[in-house]
Amino acid sequence: MRKVLWIISLLIVASLVLAACGAPAAGEPVVVKETVIVEVTAAAPAAEATAAPPAAPSGYGETLKTVQARGKVICGANSQVPGFGYVDAAGNFSGFDVDYCRALAAAIFGDASKVEYRPLTAKERFTALQAGEIDILSRNTTWTLVRDTELGGNFVQTTFYDGQGLMVLADSGITTLKDLEGGTICVQTGTTTELNLADVMAAEGVNYTPAVYDDADATMGAYAEGRCDAVTTDKSGLVARRAIMPDPAAHVILDVTMSKEPLGPMVRHGDDQWFDIAQWTVFALIGAEEYGITSANVDDMKANSTNPEVRRLLGVEGDLGLKLGLSNDWAYNIIKLVGNYGEIYEKNFGAGTPTYIPRGLNNLYTQGGILYAPPFR
């Protein structure tokens, strides 16, 4: 019996060493070359993969079918950042990213409430999407190359252009990154923020200690307790979190932008139809604002508008909705039930909200922003 144990543990240690030895010794400057991938794929499935016709990737149209059969969209959302995705005391989800999920449900079912929300932490989100636990990830997720490829998902059009910032105590006297020399910075794990922080601090030559936490509440909690000198996340997130701190005036957001953070929804690889639906839902929101269609005047526009673009978008002319695999009044439903981009923005980040963020880049291209929808034809 003991012999068997020895053998098993030897095998395990050996396999660990082997697994680790695919790599050169740690600490050396790593040159990323075309290294041989340790293929674990069994022979049979691989053969099958090549046999499948490449023109129709497996999964095309499957997501929509599944969603329609289920009767609701399962949406991976944030539950801790007011403005983007937040659960109120009554257990309802609200926020900018949540409204996008509602728009998607409106486009598919003509009913914005047919959404099931899955609150996800930053590090759970991609696994949940890969595993098919959610249909769409709408959780202030930054679009990057690695996430777009290796993580098995595709980003659709960016819905919110953000940048990373730093928040410190107003009386700390810290105004620049250099002032943080030797300090501690709270950051949430599994975010691009964590990587940007490391990049920027290395570029500036500032020594710091990261204090890394699992979710937004823990990160902000540690900052509030004084565990760190500063806390970093997307500027919009800082604004949103500051609004719910006991004394918002005691904290300042530094005038430092550390990165580009284009935030948007993400879908799984392999179903281009679903990608198109998610993509054009964003464009419908932006287009509606551009053409001045709001939830209040959408019925009037549908009945009386003479603008062909508006008529096509609202399904009076042509069959744009059918091309997406939806009904022809998909965009009408979105605008009627959820509103256009501007309405959603005002509701979540407008001047009257505690999470006020000036529109800045997130404005139509005609208004000095960079929001731009392709033609509806």
């Binding site: 697994a19 600490g27 340790v38 069994a42 497996s58 030797g182 501690t184 964590e194 540690a222």
Partner: protein, 393 residues
Amino acid sequence: MTHSTAQNSGIPFWRDERILRILGQIAFMFALGILGYFIYANMMDGLRRQGMTLGFSFFTGIAGFDIGESLIEYSRESSYLRAFQVGLLNTALVSVVGIFLATILGVILGVARLSTNFLINRLAALYLEIIRNLALLVFLIFWYAAVFLKLPKVKEAIVWPGNILLTNRGLGIPWGIPTASFWTYAWVLAFGFFLAIGVALLLVQQGRRTGRSPLVTLWASLTFLAVAVIGWLVLPEPPLRLDLPYVKGLNLAGGKILSPEFMALTSGLVLYTAAFIGEVVRAGIMSVPKGQVEAARALGLSGFQSLRLVVFPQALRVIVPPLISQYLNLTKNSSLAVAIGYPDLFYVSSTIINQSGRAVEMISLVMLTYLSLSLLTSLFMNWYNQKIKLVER
């Protein structure tokens, strides 16, 4: 052979119980194999549909994130592999420190629980009952959020005698920095150690000859101490330079800084596991027949002597096997560090999963690592258990 016997006795093989048993086992293994293949094929299918492959080549890529505390050199330019090693070492550190302290505290608790002194006995019982019935995660968060983060800010640090600084950025304790002569001194200590063993052997031999028991432990440790002190004084510069912690800018500097996360995790694990070890020790001691203690007292041994010379060696045989599982528990429970932000193996691995998207590979690797850590611990403890087992003749 079996078959022919079955034929000889006239029973057809499908009714021969010996053959049926073997066939049943084969069928079971076959079903298990099919289930395993099904799960594997399903996973591969899912990965293929997303255009992902399995493999560890990503391990050499640049990690890109920073880690708060590390026993080895690490920066954002290090590889994922390096980050993984940092996590592994942090887990090992917490486990080793935790097991060491929990054992000491556990033995004290177990003995106190059996004390005839009413107050000691009741206090130990109270402690054991409260701690054993708490959820470990809650306990850890209590230590982190309610104790170590509530310490004063750096500028208002509490200073304890011996220059120990308490702040919510960590505990600063004085620490020795090795100087050039450190390794020479290590050799001196090794020499002292062997000299002490030599002295001990000599004394034991002399004791056998004269029939009088000499003070072996005392003289051996005195020898070692003498060599250590002389070595320290004789060397041109002292092997360790004392480094005191102090407040520098926004943080502590100098000495050794123990982060609040490390402190919370270690204290939580030690205090929690010690309660279980205490019960194990109590059970072990109670398994020694009362007659043994009475006999020891009748021979004139003091309370402590009878505990050390008679009770404990016998109790150890009962204590060690459950003690092994407590050690394993402590090691595995250290993965709860994820809740309080201590960068242990599991924590760093989940960051790697998130930044690289390699969930299947990393989770398998983490499971294998915990498995090997546990098996290594249990192999060592089993060896120890064999060694102290009652030799039966």
